[in-house]
Amino acid sequence: MDEYDEMYGIEDDYEQQFADELEVMAEMEHEPPCGVKVSEFRSKRQTFEEALTSADSALLKPVAAEALALEEDECLTPKAKKRKHDVAKKLHFEATHDEGDGDGDKEITPPSSPEVYQRSERTRSGFSLSLSPSRPVVSEPVSVMDISGLAVLQESPKRVREPRHALRRPPASGDYITVTDCTGNRVYLRQDPDLDPDLQTPDPRFFRNSQNTLGLLAVPVEVLKEQASERRHRQLVEESQRLTELLNSGIDPELLADEGSEDTEDVNVRVSDESSGSRLWVDRFAPQHYMELLSDDFTNRCLLKWLKLWDSVVFGRERKPRPPAAESRVNGAQNQNQNQRFKTKSQVTEEILEAELDQYKRPKLKVALLSGPPGLGKTTLAHIIAKHAGYNVVEINASDDRSAELFQKRIDTATQMKSVLGANEKPNCLIIDEIDGAPSAAINVLLATLNRKDSREGEESTSNPLKKKKKKESVLLRPIICICNDLYTPALRPLRQQAFLLTFPPTQQSRLTQRLAEVTRRQGMKADTGSLMALCEKTDNDIRACINTLQFLHGRGQRQLDQRVVNSMSIGLKDQNKGLFSVWQEIFQLPRLKRKRIGGDPHGGFEEAGLKDVTQRLQHILHLASSCGEHEKLTQGLYDNFLSMKLKDPSLLGVCSGLDWLCFSDLVNECVLHGQNYSLMRYLPFLPAAFHHLFAANSVPRISYPNSHYEGLMKTQHTKNALVAMVAEIPPSIRTRICQSNLCLDILSLLLELISPKLRPVNPQLYSTREKQQLCELIDTMINYNLTYRQERTPEGQYTYVLEPNIEDVVRFSGLPPRRQLTYQVKQLISRETEMERMRRVERAQQKRNPQQTETVEEVKEVKKPQTQKPKIRNHHQRLENIVKQTVVENKPETDFFGRAVVPKEKVSPNTSTEDDGKPGGVSQIGKAVGKSDVWFRFNEGVSNAVRRNVYIRELL
């Protein structure tokens, strides 16, 4: 803290702008928000400071100096150095205390496990807080974090108070804190609000030290004792932490393991470098603090701010309202620092962050979505920030089962439950890593969780309080951070709109190099900045890849890293996943820039540049092409674009060989796909290499996306569909003779010619017999080949007749002169005639199926009136007969209006009716008449279609 004060204290602006960060830093140093480690830091630090203050007396100083000297060689950055240093010191002093004056207090046992250790720390911090004048007393351990008046804390020695405040039962009045020691005994510590920092009792050790200032020994006894116990304690702590690590890994592998191991790590690095050789350096040197993060500061700050927005709902704390003036000043400051482009972007983000909270006091966007290529530290950032904001991190990643049900379960567990066992009382923060690989069902589950509130809002207001409470629980009240590499995965689309998007910019090379230098130094490797820079460049500033490469080299016994090694290495290379366009670009463009730089570089071989350049380029393109993966698209892009390059190829030989390469590639591809001979696939990347060799030029190529193949495919499909539609209805006798190929090649083109004869645009009634015959043939052909004209409305509003199925498209070529078209009227005429002929044919076919009817057709023609009875009993006849049967039995012989019997005078067709209907004789004739009449009606409540009559097409046409 003191360092940061020194650094930043002067600038008020800064304090305003980075309030959140400062807060975190403060928390980081003075609060144990998330685990053993930090709390340890803090406590140690304090004691160390105590020691320092007490060591005004010159006696203690040499010890500190000695300790400093001892550990200097192993130190990291200045920042970290100090901290580490403190850690060591802290541990020592802690031990002394426990031995020295800890004897007195029975409640708190010596720190055999970090749990207890932490506990005592926490109580102490609670006390220290109560000392701060600026703040009221706080009862919740978490809210302690808000302290900003930290300067006071440093001087406050608190150890001494512990035993006095430990009570067996809760105090009757005043605030207190509950503490359970390792044996399970619970004690209550009273918080004394009246404590005045000035009146605090001085550190007993201070007195002790001061007493010993006159000692005869060169090194005071106290110091010697401390050193001895320090050693012992160190072993003790180490062992205990290893134990806890083991235990924790059993309980909560994700969280505690890495916290515990961090601690061990710090010690291990010091004690034995070799013992931890099996661990990945990436884990070992992972940042532990906000300030150690390598990722972009703005991104870090944004995420932190977003997480802080949750404070009000999670911790019940109100946000500090910020003066708007300060805000604008902040922006002003930013404007100066950052260029115009970033300003707007950052402002947008700021706006989101400043936006109002919703009714549950949650931020508007309930999910943060971090995206960026691998190795930028996304996961690390999320973990660290969540920890620092006081959350317990629950992570779901790709290694977990992410089916929808399990996902739902895990989300619910993480967001709605809280650990009841003492270990993690902090609220959960769910981190969903590698979300771009999750099935879309799982993402929908997540979305449903996010939006749960919205849907239930209405209900809640009306439902009873009990129900309300129950429902309120299901509302998402915990922050969720999602992490993905590819923001534009289709499955993420719905999530994108609801998430606070943070895209990671690439890591700054200088920072990465600096960190790598530290790593190498700590591991005893020698590396100059240039080679580290080269390494960074090679891996595209991928932190993970860099460190892994270093470890790999280290593991192979290489202690010296120079540029040559880096350049010759192929291990640091990731699969470069470049966009297709950039690949095409690189293929068609000579790498002019690169060559210049190599030339200018003192290390990069001048001597190699000339001759090796071609081979190097080829290798590069080969690598690029083989890592691209989408060979089909790549080839297509080359094919579509190579002719539009500026070719200096008057004899066309290059073009020929390029096309030969394409042919070869096609053959190979065919072999691969058809014969499943995948070993041939390795030859495919040579095509791009050859194209680079043949067609690369200095100018920047203009590349268009290859869609010719796709378009061709679509058009072919269109053509085929038209053909299939046409063939489908052609009668079988013709269909046997045609197949698709001869339709395309021979028939259709001429058929179109055939169906557009010269016809006079007059009423067909006026046609001569020959014209009529011609029309007749035309229509016959059209029906046989399943063609009709269909009316269509053009975009201009005119009506046209087009062939259906549209075989004109199949036959016509764009460049050719248009053929003679029939006029609209003629087409209309043909269309009408075709329809009628179709209907006639259908009727004829029906009649063919009932051969008896055909006889009657002739009769009808003679008689002219459709009064003949159909021999077949029709539907309505059957129905009528039933009715007639029913009614006739009751009926008396028919009477007229006056009650006289009526002689039936119905007109009954003479020839067929009497023989054909086999009606029982009991039915009266009137009934017969009703049943037999060709016209009938049914009462249909006045609807006009009640009267029905059989009408034949032939009568109409």
Partner: protein, 356 residues
């Protein structure tokens, strides 16, 4: 049956207009009531299908002409459903297995098995075998052709296969050896002319011999095309005149223009234009080998005698690769580019020689 092609198609072996000797052979073949598997091949428009139908009619009588279309759906082992249309009479079944694309093997196996395994009930009155007519056998995949081998032998007792294709070069030799190959060559120009004349006579039209000859030549002796052309001429202008314009198929015109474009200029830009035209042809379902053939014919007529062997050889080379490969456009364009290079060099050399 209004098109002349359909209206005047002969229905019995005796009524065939040309290759009468072959017709006699076929008649003799089926006279005894049985025949081996047949492989009928020949160019398009020579009358293969007509001959086959005549043969079947000779064998089974007029019942073969009662055709119906059946939609069959077959489930492949991979649970893929394949829909295919067959044309069948009571005595035979006609399938174009290549309609099923890559799954043609399944179609062949399933269909032939179902047909072949059902015995004819009244074998006394009818033949004891059914006929399966497979068209476009040269478009079958190798898998399907191999599947055909065993099936052909196994169900010999209940079923005969008639395979119909344009060229035997794509039919694997085991199948060729199992069949009696019948080649149906194109009719000669005179034969085409006589057919045209007789049809016009039946229509009551007067066809000048000169026009008939022109039509026959323009159609490339493809009888179907010749008849269609003739009818198109009739539609265009009835009282025929000898120097009447004969309508050509669009794709041929287009291809000719493309060839001219190639000859006129040789540059990458022109190659791009040609590519677009080739794509256009391909999307109109014109088979790549036909395009290649058409191009070569046109180009050869345009280039010098010295170049001809070289161009022909190149064409053969690229045509072969085209058959092996998958993307026809690459090979067609490669041929065009090669021709351009050769032609350009030839022209420049010629120019140099002329100047010095």
């Amino acid at each position: 049956m209004s098109l002349w092609v359909d209206k005047y198609r002969p229905t019995s072996l005796a009524k065939l207009d040309y290759h009468k000797e072959q017709a006699n052979h076929l008649k003799n073949l089926v006279q005894c009531g049985d025949f081996p598997h047949l492989l009928v091949y020949g160019p398009s428009g020579a009358g293969k299908k007509t001959r086959i139908m005549c043969l079947l009619r000779e064998l089974y009588g007029a019942g073969v002409e009662k055709l119906r279309i059946e939609h069959q759906s077959i489930v492949a082992p991979s649970k893929k459903k394949i829909e295919i249309n067959t044309i069948a009479s009571n005595y035979h079944l006609e399938v174009n297995p290549s309609d099923a694309g890559n799954s043609d093997r399944v179609v062949i196996q399933e269909l032939i098995k179902t047909v072949a395994q059902s015995q004819q009930i009244q074998s006394s009155t009818q033949r004891e075998f059914k006929v399966v007519l497979l068209t476009e056998v040269d478009r079958l995949t190798k898998d399907a052709q191999h599947a055909l081998r065993r099936t052909m032998e196994k169900y010999m007792s209940t079923c005969r296969l008639i395979l119909c294709c344009n060229s035997t070069s794509k039919v694997i030799s085991p199948i060729r050896s199992r069949c009696l190959a019948v080649r149906v060559p194109l009719p000669s120009t005179e034969e085409v002319c006589s057919v045209l004349m007789s049809v016009c006579k039946k229509e009551g039209l007067l066809l000048p011999a000169e026009l008939a000859r022109q039509v026959a030549e323009k159609s490339g002796r493809n009888l179907r095309k010749a008849l269609l052309m003739c009818e198109a001429c009739r539609v265009q202008q009835y009282p025929f005149s000898a120097d009447q314009e004969i309508p050509a198929t669009d794709w041929e015109v287009y291809l000719r223009e493309t060839a001219n474009a190639i000859v006129n200029q040789q540059s990458p830009q022109r190659l791009l234009e040609v590519r677009a035209r080739l794509y256009e042809l391909l999307t109109h379902c014109i088979p790549a080998e036909i395009i290649m053939k058409g191009l070569v014919t046109e180009l050869l007529s345009n280039c010098d005698g010295h170049l001809k062997p070289e161009v022909a050889q190149m064409a053969a080379y690229y045509e072969h690769r085209l058959q092996l490969g998958n993307k026809a456009i690459y090979h067609l364009e490669a041929f065009v580019a090669k021709f351009m290079a050769i032609y350009k060099k030839f022209m420049e050399d010629g120019l140099d020689n002329f100047m010095f």
